[in-house]
Amino acid sequence: MRNIMGTLLRVGVFSAAFLAVSGGVLFFIQHPKEISDFTTFKGEPAKFRQVHLIVKEAFNLRGRDVIQLGLLLLIATPVARVIFSLIGFLIEKDWIYVAITAIVLIILSVSLFSNYLTF
């Protein structure tokens, strides 16, 4: 169980890093001269913010879109670990921890999909 969890975390992090580096290479090829300015905050466009758009745009294989999918995968890695724990507690029939893990999962989902919710 723990071995699978360790592997899950490692695979998540390294595939996220791989996607990010691939996206970076694509970005340099597609925009060799572009200069980005980060000294003033402008905020990212919707395609870099919303989960379903990040996934959708990445298939166009533009550098930045691919990097952003990698970053999304990275954020999803701890979430996957929590889902995996939930399954583990379900198998053990440890209902208190099924409930506790479900609460953590709900909190994480609220955060990740906060754009779709209206506060």
Partner: protein
């Protein structure tokens, strides 16, 4: 742009190396590096830092999980506190003026410098284990365990649940507000307040950092604070740097490195506070 990315990558590599060598984590170094070193807006810096925190902690946690000292149940239960705190912290960050965030960051940095300077007293503390007080809540949550010592397996039971939960929420708020892992505060909550053995506390804390950071990273992502071009070199740099640092960790525990670092961190702290007060950030 390629040069900028290359320098950024080198800086992140160094930050990850130092962060893992000292146990401070990459976050406390990445934010000052980006804001003071590269003039990046602190909001982008915090978003980027969170990304690097997730990558290093998940990378490290994957090896801790196999060792079996960490307590997954206690970690999961306390993650309710840290994730709620993280969302609150990220929400505060959206509305708080950036110079105020800079000042708070400087103060936390100053505190980290003091902590990194101190000898790891907790390691000695866990040798004389606290007397086991039975408590109903810990029984219900199965918040106990055993850990290996020189004299065989020893038992521990979680104490002072309320206090620990409160400090964990605070750790979550700071993590979400400043884009750091706040591992030190998590260890204090577990080791000093809840009386969990030091080694169990540190590995469980590392295990929790990724989930805590993911909770605030979701908000930052949705708010447009996470930029791909800025995050890519930092994430990869910090990850590789921390892996190298982990290899060195066993060999070098020299005092001089700690002293130099404490001085550098103190200087960065004053710079962050000064910039905040002068409203340069």
């Amino acid at each position: 742009m390629v040069t900028f990315i290359a320098i950024l990558f080198a800086g992140a590599l160094f930050a990850g190396f130092i962060g893992s060598l000292t146990g401070l984590g990459g976050g406390v170094i990445i934010v000052p590096l980006l804001t003071i070193g590269f003039g990046v807006d602190i909001r982008y810096a915090i978003g980027t830092s969170l990304i690097s925190v997730i990558s290093t902690s998940s990378g490290a946690a994957s090896s801790y999980v196999k060792e079996g000292i960490l307590n997954i149940r206690i970690g999961m239960f306390l993650e309710i506190a840290t994730t709620l705190g993280a969302i609150a912290g990220a929400a505060i960050a959206v509305f708080a003026p950036t110079h105020a965030i800079s000042i708070i960051f400087g103060l936390v940095l100053l505190y980290s410098a003091i902590v990194s300077f101190q000898k790891r007293k907790g390691e000695l503390d866990s040798e004389n284990l606290p007397e086991e007080k039975p408590n109903r809540m810990a029984e219900l949550l199965k918040a106990k365990g055993t850990y290996p010592t020189a004299d065989g397996l020893k038992k521990y039971t979680l104490q002072h649940l309320g206090g620990g939960f409160t400090v964990m929420s605070l750790a979550g708020i700071l993590s979400g507000l400043l884009g750091i892992g706040s591992g030190a505060l998590k260890v204090i909550a577990m080791d000093s307040i809840m009386k969990i053995p030091f080694k169990v506390s540190t590995s469980t804390s590392n295990f929790m950092i990724g989930v805590t950071a993911a909770a605030s990273a979701g908000i930052y992502l949705n708010r447009g604070y996470i930029d791909p071009v800025l995050s890519m070199p930092v994430m990869v740099g910090v990850l590789i740097g921390s892996l190298i640092g982990a290899k060195f960790l066993i060999r070098s525990r020299t005092k001089s490195i700690r002293i130099i670092l404490a001085i550098v961190i103190t200087l960065l702290a004053f710079e962050m506070i000064y910039n905040g007060l002068a409203k340069n950030i």
